[in-house]
Symmetry: C2
Subunit: 133 residues, 2 copies
Amino acid sequence: MEFDLDPDLTAASSFVADWPLSRVLLMNDARFPWLVLVPRRSGAREIFDLSEEDRLTLSREYCRAGERLKALTQAWKINIAALGNAVAQLHVHVIARNQDDPVWPSPVWSRGYAVPYEPAALAKFLSRLVNGL
Amino acid sequence: MEFDLDPDLTAASSFVADWPLSRVLLMNDARFPWLVLVPRRSGAREIFDLSEEDRLTLSREYCRAGERLKALTQAWKINIAALGNAVAQLHVHVIARNQDDPVWPSPVWSRGYAVPYEPAALAKFLSRLVNGL
């Protein structure tokens, strides 16, 4: 089956890269540097729906995303989560958090509203991610 | 360094098992079947603070916990997350969610208050987990 990205994820994000397993997206919310990794496997909803090999690749990919996002943004903490209550397609959030961010220490979901990036700021941050992840 | 469980996690949970890497806990909140896996590695805050080998073991352990918790509880969705904004010690939430649970589809954190299990219900569920995970 071909891989199709969920339309809500598509609408809320920008493309960063295709890694061996996952498509890497940047969520369009300037409140938090927020990546989403979407394994290109049709029909997967849970991490444990993936094959053993894909599970390990996913572990490597969210660790790579988390480590490098932390270094790039000097974040205090990285939140890594596979929830999928609203969007069924398997996806893993990798979010840079700081003690002075707008919803700290709460998780980011269902808290306030996304603040879209200014176009120039989005282009600049995407370029840093493309080169730095 | 010896492994010490964070006092807030200790107070909020019951011991289920020690797996090769992680201590498995049941959170004392009857609203959601909610496990927490705590890798027995002192000083780790992020998954990527772990060695490559421990990262893979952790992936196996949260998949095992998620798959079996889903089967035991007939949950609609499993939420798997390493947040650590409030409790610094690395821990991974594995939470069984249903479309009729009290905070669906929001994530469970910072939503309402924990509802402690009745002692008999806790003992019964712990026994099912000890045998079924």
